[in-house]
């Protein structure tokens, strides 16, 4: 193919089809930038809407009393349901991650990863139905059933996130520990887990943030409550924020709308703080590991 002749002595301004190529390149760049800004804008608009409508509802009474004035029991309920879910999912998730990175052969590891990804893709309503059939049908709703469903949602997130940081632990450390006549499990406890701890906590906090807002399973598993009293009994249906938002926004009373926005603000603030905090923690642990 022949490249068009050019005069090497001509001034170094665009010539030939360079003008067109530059226009295309600029167009692509603008397109990508606009798409990125769009994502930021969606988040900003959602946060703005929630803050603008919910801020009016916020008060100490709102945060600490039960219905009809506040959502105190729902906040406590969500905290407890998520805490129990974390207690179930975190040890299991970390053990799964350790199995995949430290003990499993290549093929089993790949299968395990695929399984976790599929589990992660399960619709939460299906998980809710499953736990409903397991723990609620022929029995009664309970906060614990909600915790089990949230734990199933959190499990792949924790396992995959932990696995990523465990893979960042340099192979040389495992080899060095092996060469010292230390058994693998000792190495895991004394060397690998401490190195990866920051990342594992990050994955857990992100999973907590995700689970705290899950609504579908809780509508099936922990939604029959009056929300007047603080309850800390996970054997009973527990008030919780997502279901409260759902129920308040269904009310005919405009007061209920405001409280629904207020509850949304509480939830979104928690999730944002948790996510941003987790990212900061993650950045720190990465720095520590690479230094």
């Amino acid at each position: 193919m022949n490249v068009a002749a050019f005069d090497p002595a001509a001034p170094l301004t665009p010539s030939g089809n360079l003008r067109r190529r530059r226009a295309f390149s600029r167009l692509a760049e603008y397109g990508a930038t606009v798409a990125a800004l769009f994502a930021v804008a969606v988040l900003a608009i959602v946060i703005y809407a929630v803050v603008a409508r919910g801020a009016g509802a916020l008060s100490l009474d709102f945060l600490f009393t039960g219905t009809p004035t506040g959502i105190g029991p729902a906040i406590a309920g969500t905290a407890l349901i998520v805490a129990v879910a974390t207690a179930l999912a975190m040890p299991l998730g970390v053990l799964i991650a350790l199995f995949v990175t430290e003990f499993a052969g290549a093929r089993v590891a790949a299968t395990s990863r695929l399984t976790l990804d599929l589990l992660n893709g399960l619709p939460s309503i299906i998980i809710g139905l499953f736990v409903f059939g397991l723990l609620v049908d022929h029995h009664k709703q309970s906060g614990f059933a909600g915790s089990v469903a949230l734990a199933i949602i959190m499990l792949p997130l924790i396992a995959r996130g932990s696995q990523e940081v465990l893979l960042l632990v340099p192979g040389g450390l495992r080899e060095a520990a092996d060469a010292l006549g230390v058994s693998r499990w000792r190495t895991v406890l004394g060397m690998i887990l401490p190195s990866a701890l920051g990342g594992i906590l990050t994955a857990t906090v992100l999973a907590v943030a995700r689970a705290a807002g899950e609504t579908a399973p809780l509508i099936l598993l922990s939604s029959v409550f009056d929300g007047k009293q603080m309850t800390l009994n996970v054997g009973e249906a527990m008030p919780n924020i997502p279901v409260s938002i759902f129920q308040l926004s269904e009310e005919a009373n405009p007061e209920g709308f405001t409280r629904a926005w207020g509850a949304s603000l509480v939830l979104i603030a928690f999730i944002l703080f948790a996510s941003v905090g987790a990212r900061a923690m993650h950045a720190r642990s990465r720095r520590k590991m690479s230094s």
């Binding site: 052969g105 290549a106 340099p170 040389g172 450390l173 080899e175 060095a176 520990a177 092996d178 060469a179 010292l180 006549g181 230390v182 058994s183 000792r186 004394g190 060397m191 190195s195 520590k288 590991m289 230094s291």
Partner: protein
């Protein structure tokens, strides 16, 4: 084995370059000083730590090492030299079963360690490595304090009492004590490359193994750090049986009692690494029997 004497001699002279110089003089004069090392020493006279009988190593279908037989004598330094890709690292890693974690690794033949088959079905890898320590090419200290790097393995083995003394002894043994004694709680990652490698050696000798395998311990280090590692090997000699892989022939000539020359053998089709010649270092470097050894040690390759 009297560790106190060894550590004292290791820490007696203060400056690294000076010690290096003196130890080079010592190694050069050693063949005269040590009657066993003089001329045609009978290898049967010295107790063997490893007896390797016709060992071949495969990674999947690929043959990495073919038909190696040799005896590694006790309390001496044995160097493995040869060009890249001729199976030296594969061989040394087969001596403490580090290759077991490599997928599709397979070993044929027999490796006897003090008469025990290293690859027998009832042999525990952890026990093997507790006795046969290893230091790797790239310094790989744990992301812990200097103290904890050394103390971690002894602690896991159940040593609780006198751990401080144990750590000091290991660090003195690795000629690192004077440089780090005031900052034992600092991160080991803050040490220089040469110090990190000596820390790795201290870590390996802290559990008092029988054998120390060194896989190109100085290849990632500058000449001064290399000199201090070599010097260290002289001070560790006698305390441990040492096997060292090195690309650096001068290093082998300076530190080793015995030298094994590995090369590629293409006689049976696909080329695989193999042992070409094994003798005392003086013979390998001055009167090699095999022309390939002669070409390699004199710098004429191929």
């Amino acid at each position: 084995m009297n560790l106190a004497e060894q550590t004292q001699s290791a820490s007696a002279s203060p400056a690294v370059p000076a010690r290096t110089a003196s130890s080079r003089v010592r190694i050069q004069s050693e063949p005269q000083a040590d009657p066993r090392a003089n001329g045609h020493r009978s290898k049967v006279a010295v107790e063997a730590v490893f007896e390797v009988n016709d060992v071949s190593v495969f990674y999947g279908a690929k043959k990495a090492l073919a038909g190696v037989s040799l005896r590694i004598p006790r309390s001496r330094i044995t160097a493995l030299i040869g060009p890249s890709g001729c199976g030296k690292s594969t061989f040394i890693r087969s001596l403490n079963r580090m290759n077991d974690s490599v997928a599709a690794f397979r070993l044929e033949g027999q490796v006897l360690y003090h008469g025990h088959d290293l690859y027998a079905s009832n042999v525990d890898q952890v026990e093997v490595r507790r006795r046969i320590g290893m230091v790797f090419q790239k310094p790989n200290p744990f992301p812990k304090s200097i103290y904890d790097n050394v103390a971690w393995a002894p602690r896991n083995l159940g040593f609780r009492h006198g751990l401080d003394e144990q750590v000091e002894k290991a660090l003195r043994g690795a000629a690192l004590w004077d440089e780090v004694k005031d900052r034992l709680k600092d991160s080991a990652l803050g040490l220089s490359g040469g110090q990190q490698q000596r820390l790795c050696i201290a870590r390996a000798i802290a559990i008092e193994p029988d054998v120390l395998l060194l896989d190109e311990p100085a290849s990632a280090l500058d000449p001064i750090a290399t000199a201090s590692i070599e010097d260290l090997m002289h001070s560790l000699k006698g305390r441990f049986t040492i096997v060292i892989v090195t690309h650096n022939m001068q290093q082998a000539a300076r530190v080793a009692d015995e030298t094994a020359f590995f090369g590629l053998d293409s006689s049976s089709g696909e080329p695989a690494g193999t042992l070409i010649e094994y003798a005392d270092t003086e013979t390998i470097f001055n009167r090699p029997a095999d022309p390939r050894t002669r070409d390699y040690v004199t710098g004429r390759f191929g």
